[in-house]
């Protein structure tokens, strides 16, 4: 009675939200029950969580094989993920009769439904491992600051790209994909506010965390950056721990 399960991708962040929305709309246009396979999810944030919740509002939706990251995201947001007993039962029956791999899947210990808050599963710190492969672009006209950032970020396990001014930064973003941009404000050719505006205007970069670097502690500069669309700010000079703490504030 239910169609093919909808297999979720590994990364479900803000950038993936629009695609997921379209896909869900497509699959649910006739209000058929839907089984969502969440076994491969590695990153999940608010925008996609909301979409999954929205999907469950209008139709019968069941999440099967939620991965640890999936469960953690819902639990940390204080939310339950949708499940439908009828679909679950039908699925189990199907697995029992004709899908031996599915059976071994369950046998190999993929978390079955139940224990919705997942207190026992959530014991490991979220995000720790994911930080390993995150890429960060730093834009600053001062080599000292660039090198300082690079040293600190690489020590913390991030991958670092560098640009020497705003325009260079925007050009790097034309060809590279990163998880975070850290930009200075005062730069030749293109200042930090313009960088933020430029990047925010690219649909594919909606939701990309952008931190501005500023020596000023005054709020004017921060507000200008926020108005331009910056995610947050860092105050120079920074000590390495504080820097990493701020970075982890926006990517995990």
């Amino acid at each position: 009675m239910s169609s093919e399960p909808l297999k979720l991708g590994a990364t479900l962040d803000m950038g993936a939200a629009e695609g997921l929305l379209l896909e869900l709309r497509q699959r649910l246009q006739f209000d058929e029950p839907l089984c969502i396979d969440a076994s491969a999810v590695e990153t999940l944030t608010m925008p996609c969580v909301q979409l999954i919740l929205a999907a469950a509002k209008g139709a019968s939706v069941h999440v099967a094989d939620p991965s640890e990251a999936f469960q953690n995201a819902f639990a940390d947001l204080g939310l339950d993920w949708p499940r439908d007993a009828a679909i679950a039962a039908a699925r189990e029956a199907a697995a029992g009769t004709e899908a031996p791999e599915a059976a071994t899947d369950e046998a190999s210990g993929i978390v079955p439904d139940g224990d919705p808050l997942g207190e026992s599963i959530r014991s490991s710190e979220p995000g720790e491992a994911a930080a390993m492969s995150k890429r960060i672009l730093t834009i600053d006209d001062s080599k000292t600051i660039r090198d300082m950032l690079r040293m600190t970020l690489i020590d913390a396990g991030f991958e670092v790209l560098q640009a020497v001014d705003g325009q260079d930064g925007c050009e790097v973003m034309d060809r590279e994909t990163v998880d975070l941009v850290i930009t200075d404000i005062n730069m030749p050719r293109m200042n930090g506010y313009e960088v933020v505006r430029n990047l925010r205007n690219r649909p594919e970069l909606r939701g990309l965390p952008i931190l501005v670097l500023t020596t000023e502690s005054d709020t004017d500069k921060k507000n200008l950056a926020r108005e331009a669309g910056a995610t947050g700010w860092m105050v120079k000079p920074f000590d390495p721990d504080r820097l990493i703490a701020t970075v982890r504030k926006v990517i995990q």
């Binding site: 709309r25 608010m46 947001l77 080599k143 020596t215 669309g229």
Partner: protein, 723 residues
């Protein structure tokens, strides 16, 4: 930590560049060549110095840079006007900043009150414009808060606080890249969080906007962290959400900080300022409205302004820093390549013609490419002389203040490029010449007015490429050299005999004699035991020439002509007897085989050559270097060579062997300085050949009395070679 030291190194390297920008920018502003961009560039430079200095804890540098930066910021935002006085203060500030950088670099802690006058002058500028605000500045920077905002995890062992938190993301929150999930996780990390989410406002799929937040939360946090730390979690989003954090245990009235955003609980649920309109917007759009189109349009619409913004007002050269050592390695390799290629050429020439024909063609191409490769590598090493020029304005300012003179420095050709090693060697001589000009050349204002000149003296410092050399000219409009005084001094010191008859030019050039100093009082400016003779030697050491022209009462011009590189040069390979030498092409004017009738014997010379009506002395290279010539007196070739400004002579050699690029190899380390020989090189046949120093040869010939013909020649050709 060595990488930290490395970082420090980078910082100071960067500071040198930035300080130059400051100096250049301020000078431009003073000359009224500045634009808004100039002020911005100066501001950015000072700002960058401050930023870097903060990392390494150079507090006095940070403090001073901050005051300086504040003033510049006022200027660039038109809160402070630029006046000559202001600019002078700024220039002084640039000098103080430079000193502080130097001290920090040397690891010294600057004295408490270092640059205090200047700082007060800067603050005074702000006071005039801003009144009280400016005054506050003075006390402000001492305890400048450079480590503000985010959470301060003071491990206060106070028993826990309990906070009631209510958090509703606003419409912009997700769009700016903030993520409630991370915020909540950070909150959890502070202590124990009991959270309850309200997902009731999540609309059905047909109406939802993927970048709008619909969920809100209330919760209780038990933590040892203080309120500031909890608020710190929401730092980035405080303007984009409805947030209230109320401490439960302690007095709730105090819990809200004065600048906290509008509290929600008191107002109650019905008022939803931001999220609601956004959430209600979707129903107006048909449920199946294809989003991508919209997004695409948005992109197209936005792309334009972004692109026009992106176009830079002026092109900035993109650069990369390469360690000099790496470039030097390439230079050396190119040198070896030049030699190898010369050897190859030699071999090809010895081959039978039917084989060598095609090889020669290819070899020609190799020669061409090698030359281009050499030029490119040398241009990598090239640096604008501006690097040295930049130090001069400050020197002139300081000297002018010290001597009570008014001096203006005009510079041109700062972008003229020359090999880095030459730029480095140029600093000392140039400094000395400028010192001399201010100290001895330019007169005091009163004297200048009395002699009908403007009160302010001018020194022009210029550089240009001329005939394969770089010529640097230092010209002042001071008093010029006083020939009588110079001659008197020279006689007193026994530098010239009492009865010597000298032209004014010759007298003027006496100041290059060792141990000569004309200043009547030895001032602390130029009387440092370094005379013009040292300047001349320095310049000659790098293959340069110095010449001086003076016009009494009108000023003095000193010209330095320097080679463009110290690594490879064009040379003419020549032969005398069995020895081969190289004459630098730059020293050659022409070559000819003069008929016997054009060579005239003249007492006290080795013969004079009549060349187009002009008589030039002839120097026999073989005779001078004690090498037996194989040609009769009638044979041989005469190279007309230059030995300094306006001095030309004929250098008689046996044969010209051809023009080629030669790699300069210093011989001073192995053989010491040999008169008449500038350096050595390796020729195509693998043999070593000396590169001649024509100027020195001329001097040698002039100082040695001519020997009776033939007497000096000997077969002893061993001279230095092969030992």
């Amino acid at each position: 930590m060595s990488s930290f030291e490395q970082l420090k190194h980078t910082f100071f390297d960067e500071c040198s560049d930035l300080l130059q920008q400051v100096e250049q920018g301020l000078t431009d502003i003073r000359e009224q060549n500045g634009s808004d961009d100039t002020v911005n560039a100066v501001f950015r430079a000072v700002h960058s110095i401050k930023g870097g200095a903060g990392i390494f804890g150079f507090d006095s540098l940070v403090g001073f840079a901050h005051v300086f930066e504040t003033v510049l910021d006022a200027i660039r935002s038109d809160r402070l006007a630029i006046s000559p006085d202001n600019v002078d203060t700024l220039l002084t500030a640039g000098d103080v900043l430079s000193d502080l950088v130097t001290m920090s670099r040397a690891g010294e802690t600057p004295a408490e009150d270092y640059g205090r006058d200047c700082r007060m002058a800067l603050e005074a500028l702000m006071c005039i414009e801003q009144g009280e605000e400016g005054e506050a500045l003075g006390e402000d920077f001492a305890d400048l808060d450079f480590v503000p905002v985010p959470f301060v995890p003071d491990e206060e062992e106070e028993s826990g606080h309990v906070y009631e938190i209510s958090f509703r993301p606003g419409a912009e929150l997700l769009k700016k890249g903030n993520e409630p999930l991370f915020i909540l996780r950070e909150l959890r990390a502070l202590g124990t969080l009991e959270l309850s989410a309200d997902a009731a406002r999540v609309p059905p799929l047909s109406e939802i906007e993927f970048d709008q937040p619909y969920v809100s939360w209330t919760g209780t946090l038990k933590t040892s962290a203080d309120l500031a730390a909890v608020e710190g979690v929401f730092d980035f989003v405080s303007d984009d959400c409805d947030l209230s954090i109320v401490e439960k245990a302690s007095a709730p009235a105090l819990a809200l900080p004065p600048d906290a955003p509008t509290p929600v609980p008191e107002v109650g649920a019905p008022v939803m300022p931001e999220p609601l309109p956004a959430a209600m917007a979707p129903p107006l759009v048909p449920a199946d409205a294809p989003k991508p189109v919209e997004a695409g349009e948005a992109k197209a619409a936005l792309a334009k302004p972004a692109e026009t913004k992106a176009a830079p007002p002026k092109a900035v050269a993109t650069t990369t820093r390469v360690e000099l050592e790496k470039i030097d390695r390439v230079v050396n390799m190119v040198g070896e390549l030049v030699i190898a290629q010369a050897m190859l050429g030699q071999i090809v020439q010895d081959l039978p013609e039917h084989i060598s024909g095609r090889l020669l063609q290819t070899l020609d191409e190799v020669v061409h490419h090698t030359r281009e490769l050499k030029d490119s590598v040398m241009s990598m090493r090239a640096q604008p002389v501006g690097a040295v020029f930049q130090r001069m304005p400050r020197l002139v300012r300081e000297l002018a203040t010290k001597t009570g003179k008014k001096v203006r420095l005009e510079m041109s050709g700062e972008n003229t490029e020359v090999d880095r090693s030459i730029v480095e060697q140029l600093a000392d001589p140039l400094t000395h010449i400028i010192r001399n000009s201010v100290d001895h050349g330019i007169e005091k204002p009163a004297d200048r007015l009395a002699s009908g000149k403007s009160e302010e003296g001018t020194i022009r410092l210029g550089a240009e490429h001329r005939g394969g050399r770089i010529v640097i000219e230092i010209k002042d409009d001071g008093a010029g050299v006083n020939p009588e005084r110079v001659l008197k001094k020279a006689r007193e010191r026994g530098l010239v005999s009492a009865d010597a008859q000298l032209t004014d030019d010759e007298i003027t050039n006496l100041i290059f004699m060792p141990g000569f100093s004309t200043a009547e009082t030895v001032s602390d400016i130029s009387g440092r035991g370094v005379g013009m003779d040292v300047v001349r030697r320095n310049i000659q050491d790098i293959g340069g020439r110095i010449s001086l022209k003076s016009e009494r009462g009108k000023g003095m011009t000193i010209q330095l002509a320097l080679p463009l590189t110290l690594a490879v040069m064009d040379g003419m390979v020549i032969r005398v007897g069995r020895e081969t030498y190289v004459v630098p092409m730059s020293a050659m004017v022409e070559c000819l085989r003069p008929p016997r009738s054009d060579i005239h014997g003249l007492v006290g010379t080795r013969g004079m050559l009549r060349l187009r009506g002009e008589l030039l002395p002839i120097v026999h290279l073989g005779e001078l270097l004690d090498v037996a010539s194989t040609e009769s007196d009638a044979g041989g070739v005469v190279i007309i060579a230059e030995a300094g400004e306006d001095i030309r002579f004929g250098l008689r050699v046996d044969e010209l062997c051809g023009h080629q690029q030669v790699v300069i190899k210093s011989i001073e380390e192995s053989y010491g300085s040999i008169p008449g020989i500038a350096a050595a090189t390796i020729l195509g046949n693998g043999r070593v050949a000396f590169i001649l120093d024509t100027e020195k040869l001329y001097e040698m010939a002039a100082s040695e009395p001519p020997a009776p013909a033939g007497a000096i020649r000997s077969e002893n050709a061993a001279f230095a070679l092969g030992n």
